[in-house]
Structures are given as structure tokens and as C-alpha cells.
Symmetry: C2
Subunit: 416 residues, 2 copies
Amino acid sequence: MTEPDETPDSTDSSSTADSSESNTCGEFTVTPYAVEGEVDYDKLLERFGADPLTDEQIARFPDHPLLRRRTFYAGRDVDRYLEAAASGDPHALVTGRGPSGPMHLGHVLPLYLAKRLQEATGATVYVPLSDDEKFLAKDQSFASIGAHTRENLRDILAVGFDPERTRIVVDTADADVLYPIAVRLATHLTPATVEAVYGQQDTVGLQFYPAVQATHLLLPQLVAGRQPTLVPIAVDQDPHVRVCRDVAAKEALPVGKPGALLGRFLPGLDGPGKMSSSGDAPSIELTADPDTVAETIRTHAYTGGQATLKGHREHGGDPTVDVPFQYLRFFFEDDDERLEQIADDYRSGELLSGELKQIAIDRITEFLTGHQQRRAELGSLEADLEPYRLTDRERRRALERAGVPAGLESEGDPRR
Amino acid sequence: MTEPDETPDSTDSSSTADSSESNTCGEFTVTPYAVEGEVDYDKLLERFGADPLTDEQIARFPDHPLLRRRTFYAGRDVDRYLEAAASGDPHALVTGRGPSGPMHLGHVLPLYLAKRLQEATGATVYVPLSDDEKFLAKDQSFASIGAHTRENLRDILAVGFDPERTRIVVDTADADVLYPIAVRLATHLTPATVEAVYGQQDTVGLQFYPAVQATHLLLPQLVAGRQPTLVPIAVDQDPHVRVCRDVAAKEALPVGKPGALLGRFLPGLDGPGKMSSSGDAPSIELTADPDTVAETIRTHAYTGGQATLKGHREHGGDPTVDVPFQYLRFFFEDDDERLEQIADDYRSGELLSGELKQIAIDRITEFLTGHQQRRAELGSLEADLEPYRLTDRERRRALERAGVPAGLESEGDPRR
């Protein structure tokens, strides 16, 4: 097993000598809309008030490299979820997607983690797509966001979730259930709260959006009752969870506050500490063909190797900053011994950067081939999506549990 | 015909000697959420920048006491509507309802005006019910708002609109079409704009609501294309229209800015210059039985009569402040000669306040009997409402025209 000091973030530890308690000072900025500078993941936890995952908690999760190697490294209310999973009681995950562009490797990892947890303990998985937020936040037409939404949906379907235990919602397409609940939750969200968490917003649409996001995170228990919920997300999205937890505390809900499983960013190809979607280096899209994957990694991946062959053979490479190694470590090399061997060979100088790149290329291509094959087997998006959509009964139950009877429905109305 | 100087507001003219140009100073406050003090309707127009209706415009409208006697006394872009109506081209009205309680006489008058215009020139009538806003603005549960919504819908159906030319939408129940369009329009609404018009809002829900309201007012042209639209509303709701007009100016729409037909408030029973829904005196609900109507008017209606019978016979009454007379004048006595005779008899002292009250009781009871009879003939709310709801095709067209393709629908998707 790789040591903690081999994680990409741990190389930043020298810069955290100042473990200031202050929440306001800091050399990096993490909000849902901006990730700047080198990220200190420990300082983030301190700032956000979340708890590092304990060894015991990691052990209680189904085995998965993203957990075993602490890419997901912290959380909130994780035990409640783990207890339900252990007892065979209902439990749920919410892992969303903002459809502002094609999905790339970094976006799909939490989905494959969710699939693993679903297979292992029967977790219900909710996948909300926030096309409304992306339209409001980005300079794109709804037509463009809609096209990305449809492509993203194909990638989400290609993950291969169990339709019996998975619900995919799209904010505009499922507004019939999401908007009324968001209105209810919005009564707990003052403009000051939203501004404190997200900063000043350009439009009243973005001001309202946290109520929609809160709806996403409460959906499992609203749809299906008692379901301790865990939200596996990149740590920069934690403010969404905190806002929802504050809102949930003001409502009588089957479970209450959703939990969180907070993760590190998959490093961008141009190096660790940068979020792949906001960096300048190209990302590897899920639809990339093998040649593109190879070419992209060979050309753009930041390595921990030495400048010359001679130097590399002499001094060895540094896997902790080597992006191809980190991709293997995050997800693509499941075998710990094999990963450790790669790290050792790299450190010793036996394994060259180009060879390490090739290993990553092979593993990623292997993964993408499977993903793309499942994607290619999909038929009409609508038909394939249908079994994953909320049923009329589930919509009605969610509105009822939220105390939002649709205006037209009298109690006991038989229509839906 | 009654003279303009007999309108209830004209008695305030002495207080408007100060025709200050300032928009910020004034002895009364009119926003969508508060009406305080005596309302100076002329000063309101000046402040809002709307135009008084000309005699020629009044003459081009189908004849109706609410227009003929200038209860609706001002507007924006009225000519465009009138031209379409005169040419037999499509034209539309939007007249909404905030379902926070039972509907009373003041609420239903614009609906009956809309019905008259629909019968005369074939206007399409849209009736949006803002249950979301009322939940956000008032201290009521959604269950309570939902119950009022259903009762209000019965009253709206009892008006007897032509289902072919009428669409009733409920914000929570029609969120599938309203929310995505509101998101689009929200991109033009900054928090500062909303705060400038509505004041500081308590929740992000109310901050977002103007985008939903703008959606209501643009719905006719979004659903059906070129439809010059007029919004007959009490003048205190004009800020909604202005916000929507500013938003509409930023979109490519079949018609563009909606027009407005601005009205005075039906005086509360306790006297003119107060809005019936915010005063302390009881209002006459549409479901009130004849005894209740009679008792309420006899007990609570403010009269313009003298304190003693002798004084009344000697000096006569003042119809301009007499609420029963004003009710007749607004709506319930259509015949101008008869109304003038009543005013003359009251001024001369021949007609006593109690007798004038009885005339109003008779007319209002007559009106309510018809309304209540149509209401009683309704069957299941859902079945009766169905022909008035947006069809799937209309929903799709509205989303398309707003440039908001539902995320799940590809172009040419045959489903809806």
C-alpha cells in the first residue's frame, strides 16, 4: 500500500507550517466556482470543519482504491451511512454533474465509486444534473447546455448503474418535483447566507440555485424515506453540503442532514494541485479514442522524472508529483502491490517517465474501452434513461414528504 | 355617465397640490407587498411612468364599466393590444392570482373584465396562480396555500372562460415549463435590480420569484407566438410588469414587452383609499351567502351619508366616499343612467344610506348567485381544469420559443 507521504497533496506539507486557526486568511481559494493556487487539503478540512476519515471508517467501506488510498479522505456523518449499509438498511449516495461540457476522467471517478458501493451494499444512487446552474453560471446557451446534458447522460448511463436502485434527475426536465421542493427549502435561505457561502452572485437565478442543490441532496430521503445519505464530492463542493445541512436542520425529515464524503481533485495533466476542469492543459474526455489518450498523455502529462535519461537513471523519479503515476494511484491501477512496484521502480530510476506514461496510457485506455463500449451499446437516450427517471409515484411521494402538495392535487387524488 | 370627479380617488385631489417630481418622497407607499396610506392614483402614474388611458383608447376597448368608468385608468403599450384586437389578430391578457386566501369581490373583477374582453374580441386569457410566491411571502404552510389554490381555481373556473382560449397555470404544478423559462429570464435579473424594485427580500426564493412572474407575463407569446399582451392589474403590481418589460427587452421574443392595464383598488368596506385585502374590515368572499353579504355590508360598509336622518335629508350624502355606491360604480351597476340616478338621489338626500346599501346588497347578491351557481355546477376540480391546462405541445413550444430545450429532449424528439 502506498504511504500517505506519496499522495500528491502531502508534498505541500512544508507550506502548511502555519497551521493558523483563522478561516479567513490563506493562500488558496476554494469555492464552488473557483479553485486557485495550491490546495492544502488538511487546511481545507480545518476551514470547513469536516472530519478526516478514520482507518476504521475506511475499513467499513467496500474496498475501492479511491477510499483505500484516501482520495476521498474526509467526511461528515459518515458513520450513519456505514451503519445502515452494514445493517442492510436503505442508504443512498448523491453524486451530481454540472453539464457544462464533455465529461472527462475526473468527473466519472465518483460515479464509478458510487457504482462499486451500489454493487457491494445496495446503495441507492441519485445523479442530479444541474443544467440550470450551468446555464446561469456559464456563458453558454441553453441549447449548448442541453447538448452537453444529453452527452453527459450517455456517459452516466454507460457507468452501468442498477436502474432499480438509481435515479437520474435533470433540473430543467424534473422541475415539476425539484422546483416546488426548492421553494420550500428556500424559505430557510436568506440572501445573506447564500452570499456568505458563495460570494455575491450576478443573478437572482444563482442566488436561488442553492435551494435546488439542497433539494438534490435531500431527494433520497424525500423519495424513499429513511435513507442515510452520503454525498461523495470534491472538497470544493463542500459548501453546497453545508448549506443543505443547515437547511435540513430546519425541516422535519426522515433522516435529516445529508452526510458528505469529501475528495481530492484528480490532478490536471499539467500537474498536481490544480483541478483538471479549470486548468489550461487538455483533459482526457471519456469519448477520447486510444490514439488521442496516448498523444495527450505523452504530450501534456507532467512527470516526476529527471530532465535527462542519465539523471533519471541516477536519481530516479518522484511519483508523488508524477501525473501518470497519480492517475494510476487514484483509480486506474487497483492492485496495491503492482502500484507500489511501479513507484519503487520509478524512484530507483529503473522505470522511465515515458514507460510510466505508457502504463498509464494502457490502463486508462483499457478503462475507456470498456466505458465506451457500454456507451456505444446504448440506444435512444430517452428509452435508456426511462428506467432511471423518478416514477410518478416517487415524484408524488417526494412532494408529499417535503410538505409540498402540488396545488392541483387534493388529498387522496387518484391521478398520480 | 358619472363624472370623473365622482371617482373615489378624485376626492384626494386636494392632497396632491404638491405634484412633486420626486419619486422618492411621498406620503404613501405602494409596492407589491405593501399598500399604505391614501393612494394618489395620478401621482402613482407619474412615479411609475405609465400613461393615463385616453378617451380614444377607452372607446376602442369593448364596453365595460371597469374601463368606461376608468377603474382601469392607465396602461403601457395599450395600443398594440387594441390594434391586434381590432384587426382580429391574436391578442392576450394575463391576469393572475396569489392564492393566499379565499377570493373576494376585488379579486374577481379583473377576471370578469378579461372574460368580457375574451367574449368581445377573442382574447386569449392566461391566469397564473403564484402559490410559490404566496408560500414564500406569507406565514402559511404549503398545505394551506394548496387548499386555497384549489378553492381559488374553482372560483376562476366559475367565471366561465372559454377553455379554447384560456390557460390556467399553477406555479408549483406547472413548474416543468415555468421554472426552466424563469431560469433563462433570471439571467437578466441582478440582485440589485430586484432589490431596487421590491426592496430587500427575506429569502432567496422571493429574490428569484420576479423571474417566475416575468415568465407568467411572457407566456402568451411563448406558447402561441405573436400575441400582443395586456396585463390588467391593480396599479400596485406595476413593478412586476416593469421588471418583466426590462427582461423582455433583452430577449428576442415574438412580441416583446407585455403591456399593462393598470387599475385602482376596489375600496375596502371600511372606506376608499384602502386595498380590500389589506384592510381590517371583512371582505366579501365569493362564496358568501346572501345573508352574510347583507349582514357584512350593513354592519361594516363605510357610507357617505350624514350622521342623522334629518341631516341626511337636509344635506344629502356623498357618493364619492360611499363604499356601497362605489361597489355599484366599479362593477355591479352596469347601467350608467341608473347609477347616475342613484348618485343624484343620494346627493339630494332622497336616498338614505341604508337604502343605498340595500341596492348594493341586491346587486352583489345577484352577481354572487350567478357565480356561485356556476361554481356549484363544477365537478372534480381536476377534470374541470384539464381543458384549461397547457397541453404538452404548448409546453414544448413555450420551452422552445424561450430557447430552453428540456435537457432530455433531442431536437426532433417525437415524445411531446
